[in-house]
């Protein structure tokens, strides 16, 4: 092997394969039926190595792996295990990265290992009834009271608040300062008096988000992250991580040569193939030229978007200037997903109109709910219009 990096990667791979062989219980192998005890044991072993957050430093419970090693991990696990624990992205992709950057030693030691071990579920307390796109106008108050802050106000659209243990919350700590300068980033426990959580039903019928009310809720002062009134910087950085995650731009599986053998298969379009049973066309060119062109456009955009993400990653690694902002990726990924769902609806015709019951295939019901859910893609994490604002300002430098 040419470079020493490659040799050490292969050494890591063999060590990992051996560890997986020893640690992954038989019932979690592909094809087997997992037992509850095995699942718990496997989760324990997996989390103990920090593999749910592979690139975090090991001193905070992470895997301590390089990015290249983490890619190897992502390749090897599915070869051995039919299931493995995945920690909630609120912890791994949002709070964790900003704690690593802005948190103090005590906060990192306290909170990061619990994320890795899937012990604490987090939720994001940003939006309020009066503060959405204009997030910095938020009103939830935090007032110092001895070694605590007292929190009063309300957050809304808080995804998973009813399942969460803790919240990372933007609060106003200086109402007299300009709006960006009076915000603090505070962590606190949701299991305490004064917290009321009401789930909100979505158009898709699910209730994944909630309104949360705080009445004299206590947050320990040591859980204020960064500077008092300096929370906006952290808030924005967290949004960048969130947008990167929502655009699927970070953890793509590597296309390593060893993963591929023989000539690549003939390219296929999953969208077109899923349309065939509904169109009654088993093979050949789709007869409806308009639908065919819409699918072709979507597939080409998806291909080119994937290449754009790859190029941006390679540019960043090669130090060839910053790639275009994550805002572009967030924007494009959510618009692509909405278009895909719209196409699936057109293709399925009346089969896509079912809401519940045995008259409809479970997959159709799921895809229809998925179509409704996809409408939120261009709203959550900052709307598409807000992403366009960010590109115009930060990337293109257009005047205010």
């Amino acid at each position: 092997m040419k470079d020493p990096g490659a040799a050490s990667i292969e050494a890591f791979r063999s060590e990992l394969v051996e560890w997986l062989r020893v640690s992954c219980p038989a019932s979690l192998r592909p094809g087997a039926k997992p037992t509850e005890e095995d699942r718990a044991a496997w989760q324990q072993a997996f989390c103990a190595r920090g593999f749910t957050t592979p690139t975090w430093p090991s001193e905070y419970g992470g895997g301590g792996l390089s990015k290249a090693e983490a890619r190897v991990l992502a390749e090897e696990i599915p070869r051995v295990a039919s299931w493995f624990p995945v920690a909630s992205f609120f912890g791994t992709s949002m709070l964790g990265p900003v704690l690593l950057e802005f948190g103090n030693e005590e906060q990192k030691k306290e909170h990061l290992p619990k994320i890795t071990r899937c012990e604490i579920q987090w939720c994001q307390g940003y939006s309020e009834p009066g503060a959405g796109s204009d997030l910095a106008s938020l009103q939830t108050r935090a007032v110092r009271d001895g070694d605590h802050y007292l929190i009063n106000g309300s957050k809304i659209w808080t995804t998973g608040a009813n399942q969460a243990d803790w919240i990372f919350c933007l609060t106003r700590t200086d109402p007299s300062a300009p709006k960006h300068d009076g915000i603090s980033f505070i962590l606190f426990d949701l299991h305490q008096p004064g917290v009321t959580i009401s789930p909100i039903e979505l158009i898709s019928g699910a209730s994944e988000f909630c309104q949360v009310f705080f009445e004299d809720v206590k947050a320990e002062a040591r859980n204020l992250v960064g500077e008092l009134n300096g929370g906006w910087t952290i808030a924005k950085r967290l949004l960048e991580h969130e947008r990167a995650m929502l655009s699927g731009g970070t953890g793509r599986p590597s296309d390593s040569p060893r993963a591929r053998k023989g000539p690549p298969p003939a390219p296929k379009s999953a969208l077109a193939e899923s349309a065939r049973p509904h169109l009654g066309e088993a093979e050949g060119e789709l007869a409806d030229p308009v639908l065919r062109h819409r699918i072709a456009q979507w597939e080409m955009d998806a291909l080119c978007f994937g290449l754009t993400l790859r190029r941006s990653g390679e540019q960043a690694r090669a130090g060839q200037g910053p790639g275009p902002a994550t805002s572009m990726f967030k924007l494009y990924a959510s618009e692509m997903n909405k278009r895909r769902s719209e196409l699936l609806m057109s293709v399925r015709g009346a089969a896509g109109l079912g809401w519940s019951g045995d008259d409809f295939e479970p997959l159709d019901l799921m895809e229809t709910r998925g179509w409704l859910r996809s409408k939120g893609n261009s709203i959550e994490g900052g709307t598409s219009e807000v992403q366009l604002n960010v590109i115009a300002k930060r990337v293109l430098g257009l005047p205010d």
Partner: protein, 379 residues
């Protein structure tokens, strides 16, 4: 292969940018147009480009070339796109030159390619017969005579045909128009009896030729490749040309975009800079995204061809479709955002619009390539 430029490619890019800024800026195109230069470009500058090694980039060193690939040629073409430099890369180097390099006998290659690489020999590929690009719709006939062939038919839109020293003519030796089989390539000297060329001026201040062939007699040694199997040469040549043209389109779209952004930051109305209007900001941001996708697609298409990747044609079609759409969006929106001045001949944005349209309709527009992409993806 990585989508980031290698060090060598970066050097080529810098050299090209500097040279073109100096020797072939947009003012150069304007001067050629205003003087009604019958060539449409400067042969002297083409020779200078040859001294820098550009026409020879994709050809083997044995034939006077640099032995590099499409990725490197794409870098040069992208820079040409930025200054709208009207040089015969597509016609001479990629289309006709590509056909000679792929299909030619050793003798044919030795006869033609070194002169091409030196910037002396100009070539053109005479294939198209209909308005819309459709490579196999060819009616021109080549009939076998005693010791050669007799060619008859009409060609249109023969890029740089008006100055070509040699034409590569595609004619039917069997089969019917629309069929992929039965085509043969011939090397024809345009001075041969029966071969008539008429120069047509195009919107982008470049020239193409109409070629009329009436009983043009050529020898057996004029055949390029195998009789009836010309499509096997043309398929990869069209893919390379399509990717090369897409690279030029990325360059012209990038330049038109940057000029528009600069204008948005400069022009004031209602007491503020027009770039502060959200209606324009959002459209500018969308143009930026489309351009990013087009760039990544072209980089990968060029590399797919260099690597001989299976299914490279699919990414080539995706690239041409995306570049056609992006260049059209950016030049149309760019003109709109310039307001009245955008409609004047004096302002350059209109030149970008014209070149973008010509490039879009050359070698298949977005709809053509969407259709081809769908076919190559099995639907």
């Amino acid at each position: 292969m990585s989508l980031v430029l290698t060090e060598e490619q970066e050097l080529i890019q810098q050299a090209a940018a500097e040279f073109l800024k100096e020797r072939a800026p947009i003012a150069h195109l304007r001067a050629l147009r205003d003087e009604e230069d019958p060539t449409g470009f400067s042969r002297a500058i083409w020779k200078e480009m040859a001294e820098l090694g550009w026409p020879g980039i994709p050809f083997a060193e044995d034939h006077g070339g640099a032995g590099l690939g499409m990725a490197e040629l794409g870098v040069v073409l992208e820079e040409c796109g930025r200054t709208l430099a009207p040089y015969p890369f597509l016609s001479t180097v990629v289309l006709a030159g590509g056909a000679v390099a792929r299909g030619g006998s050793d003798a044919q290659k030795r006869e033609i390619l070194p002169g091409l690489c030196r910037g002396e020999t100009l070539l053109a590929l005479a294939f198209q017969e209909t308005g819309r690009f459709d490579p196999w719709v060819i009616d021109s006939k080549a009939e076998k005579t005693g010791d050669g062939f007799c060619l008859s038919g009409r060609k249109t839109f023969v890029l740089e045909g008006h100055v070509a020293d040699r034409l590569v003519v595609v004619a039917r030796t069997s089969g019917a128009s629309g069929e992929r089989e039965g085509l043969t390539l011939f090397l024809v000297d345009p001075a041969t009896d029966g071969c008539e060329l008429t120069r047509s001026a195009l919107i982008d201040s470049r020239y193409a030729a109409r070629v009329s062939l009436s009983e043009v007699v050529v020898g057996r040694d004029a055949v390029l490749g195998e009789v009836d199997r010309g499509a096997e040469i043309l398929d990869p040549v069209f893919d390379r040309a399509t990717a090369a043209l897409s690279a030029e389109m990325v360059g012209l779209a990038s330049e038109a975009f940057e000029r528009t952004i600069a204008y948005l930051k400069d022009r004031e109305q209602f007491g503020v800079r027009i770039g502060s209007f959200q209606a324009l900001k959002h459209r500018a941001a969308e143009m930026f995204c489309e351009l990013q996708l087009a760039q990544a697609a072209v980089l990968d298409a060029l590399r797919a061809l260099d690597e001989d990747r299976p299914h490279a044609a699919r990414i080539v079609s995706a690239a041409k479709a995306r570049c056609s759409d992006a260049a059209s969006l950016i030049t149309c929106e760019g003109l709109q955002m310039h307001g009245g001045i955008g409609m004047t001949d004096e302002e350059d944005i209109g030149l970008f619009l014209k070149r973008a349209k010509a490039a879009e309709l050359t070698l298949g527009d977005a709809a053509y390539h969407r259709d081809r992409f769908a076919r190559l993806t099995g639907f």
